[in-house]
């Protein structure tokens, strides 16, 4: 039984996620959203491809980029937007904000503690075993969260309790300004094997591929065959969070130039390390900055445009118009400052 990929629906959800987050970004720049706003722009292919397989009663444990998943799961956009601007009428009455979104009706909880989605998903799955057999829990996290002890412990806990947890690792290759591969021993595939859990890798830019890969995994989960890891690559073009100063530093020529003074002084400072060390330090700063700049300038790998190209233009226009309408009415609810 091979169902066809529901491309238009996946496209619709991805556009909703994308456009909603673009609106949030604007609200953030307007100063109406406070704090560190981490967006999932670029991750929609992974999120939409997974969510489409969920049924009522499935649970979501989300990380510091919870918005796309909530949008896709059906949380009211106005409630979400109102929460972001701190309104009493928001999803969490203005108490949670963008990193601490909770939707009890959809069993969706988030946390800004890297790795916390792992134990949370294990707990949801345990409650499923007793209260909602056949339901699953999905943990969304970044790839660098895989080095956090509580996440590693959860892989093991899920394995030995045979919990129906799908660990979805959204791999953009970076943790803020650190290249994840440089801080991660082994590979994710071997990590999963190390805990005895199933593993599948997929390109997150291809929502259809995600959808196809995750279907059988979730079927197995529902049948009680124990936890699994979906490792999905992705590209997040805007970096860590809105207007990250470190990212601005490496991407803006002006800002990077402003750095060159202090860095050159540090390099020249004979009171510091041996010249070999100092050059090594400079090399590391430059290679990190250059690596990030190249990474962020990449324009391939966008799941939305990629799918769009394969779809009928009128259908696309219809979807986009519907989403625009939804976003506008959401923004109307939020009003102006």
């Amino acid at each position: 039984m091979k169902a066809p990929v529901p491309a238009l629906e996946l496209f619709h959800q991805m556009v909703r996620m994308r456009r909603f987050e673009e609106a949030l970004s604007e609200l953030w720049h307007q100063g109406r959203i406070s704090g560190e706003l981490h967006l999932g722009i670029g991750e929609e292919g992974i999120v939409a491809g997974v969510l489409d397989h969920l049924i009522e009663g499935d649970a979501l444990a989300l990380d510091h980029r919870p918005t796309p998943a909530l949008v896709g799961r059906g949380t009211d956009l106005s409630l979400l937007a109102l929460e972001m601007v701190g309104a009493e009428t928001g999803l969490c009455r203005g108490h949670g904000g963008h990193m601490h979104l909770f939707d009890p009706e959809r069993l969706a909880a988030s946390s800004g503690i890297v790795g916390a989605a792992g134990p949370m998903a294990c707990g949801f799955a345990l409650s499923h075993q007793r209260l909602r057999p056949g339901r699953i829990a999905v943990a969304f996290s970044g790839e660098s969260a895989i080095n956090q002890g509580m996440m590693l412990e959860s892989l093991n806990l899920a394995a030995v309790w045979e919990l129906p947890v799908l660990f979805v690792v959204k791999d953009n290759g970076w943790a803020i300004t650190t290249r994840s591969a440089e801080m991660t021993g082994g590979t994710l595939r071997k990590r999963a094997e190390g805990f005895g859990i199933a593993y599948t890798k997929v390109r997150g830019a291809d929502v259809g591929a995600v959808w196809r890969a995750v279907g059988p995994m979730i079927d197995d989960l529902r049948r009680g065959r124990g936890p699994a890891m979906l490792h999905a690559t992705c590209h997040r073009p805007s970096g860590h969070f809105e207007h990250d100063p470190l990212i601005r530093m490496v991407t803006s020529p002006r800002e990077f130039a402003a750095e060159s003074g202090p860095l050159t002084r540090s390099l020249a400072d004979g009171s510091g390390g041996r010249i070999r060390d100092r050059i090594g330090g400079m090399r590391r700063v430059i290679s990190t900055a250059a690596g990030m700049r190249v990474h962020l300038s990449k324009r391939r790998g966008d799941p939305v445009t990629r799918l769009e190209q394969t779809l009928d233009a009128t259908a696309v226009a219809r979807v986009r118009a519907a989403v625009e309408k939804e976003i506008l009415s959401t923004l109307a609810e939020v009003g102006s400052p």
Partner: protein
């Protein structure tokens, strides 16, 4: 007469009969809680790996999913390994969700010293935990309270840390202290270790202190084993004509401010007897409660000032004891 640890399991058993959503898990739980395991089956009583961060966090998720987990961490000291689940998740979700989601978990752990295991395994740490808004912390001093507070903790809709003192619980005394050796003795308070317990045990509401003794000269405020030390000191002081009120706060958070204020006002002298560290939070909080109420009372503390040393004689001098309580009272008398 019921033994302290048995009283807790009695309450737990009743609760598990009443509410099938209660599950129990932790390291070694199948043998530690073998009677519950045999009574309720392996789905409701299960072992964990040595992964405190994961299973405490899983308790939070399970509670959000509709269960009421009672999760056992053998020593409160080990909570430090997975504290984020309590401080950053369990304690915060009700507030962050705008009051729409609760985290009804009970974290059961042993605490306290007095048997020579040294300060990495004998801490109290209740002040640190109680300082976090959203966390309740209870520390019973008798079997009846142990049962009643366990009942109330399970019924509470937010997270509760339930601490049982190793000197009071036979099971833990045997395990951690090798308490069945005839060659060792511990200063185990008899009324704390064994006492009458109703079956089923009525809940003891969180945040309700109890007056264990009434006297007009000085108020001793304590909890857990400290209560018994206070009662012994009060006996000794009573013989010398100094009459003590002894307040057992029973729960560190919520804290029964009214009970503290009333007694402090009546006696004008307050001694906080707290096995937790001096700056651990509770003894200072007692001073603050009194001062905030505008009560001008003389104040002293008997607390654990330093890392608890291993040697029994050093440990005895470090933990609050009857002599130190008597001296503290005397220092307020002249």
């Amino acid at each position: 007469m019921t033994e302290f640890g048995a009283a807790i399991d009695l309450a737990l058993g009743h609760a598990m009969v009443d509410d099938p959503k209660i599950v129990v898990f932790g390291e070694d739980t199948p043998l530690l809680r073998r009677e519950l395991l045999v009574r309720f089956g392996p789905e409701r009583v299960r072992p964990t790996p040595i992964s405190e961060s994961a299973f405490l966090g899983a308790a939070v998720g399970a509670a959000l999913g509709g269960l009421r987990p009672v999760v056992e961490v053998q020593l409160v000291d080990f909570l430090m390994v997975g504290l984020s689940a309590l401080v950053n998740e369990a304690a915060k979700i009700e507030a962050f969700s705008g009051g729409r989601w609760n985290v009804p978990i009970v974290v059961r752990a042993t605490c306290g010293g007095g048997y020579g295991d040294a300060g990495q395994h004998e801490q109290a740490l209740w002040g640190m935990l109680a300082g976090v808004p959203g966390l309740a912390v209870v520390v019973p001093s008798t079997p009846a309270d142990a049962a009643g507070l366990m009942r109330a903790s399970i019924e509470n809709d937010g997270p509760v840390v339930f601490l049982e003192h190793k000197l009071l619980s036979r099971q833990w005394r045997d395990a951690m202290a090798g308490g069945r050796r005839e060659s060792v003795t511990f200063d185990v308070p008899p009324d704390g270790a064994d006492g009458p317990v109703l079956d089923p045990p009525p809940p003891v509401p969180l945040g309700s202190a109890i007056e264990r003794r009434l006297g007009g000269d000085v108020t001793l405020i304590s909890l857990g084993v400290g209560v018994h030390r206070c009662l012994s000191a009060s006996e000794e002081l009573g013989e010398r004509g100094v009459e003590c009120t002894v307040i057992d706060v029973r729960s560190v958070a919520p804290l029964d401010r009214a009970a503290i204020e009333t007694a402090a006002r009546r006696t004008g002298r307050v001694v906080a007897v707290d096995e937790d560290y001096t700056r651990g939070g509770l003894s200072g909080e007692i001073a603050a409660v009194v001062a905030e109420a505008g009560i001008s009372a003389r104040f002293a503390r008997v607390t654990t000032e330093d890392t608890i040393p291993y040697a029994r004689h050093l440990e005895d001098a470090t933990l609050p004891n009857v002599d130190r309580i008597v001296s503290a009272v005397e220092s307020l008398l002249d």
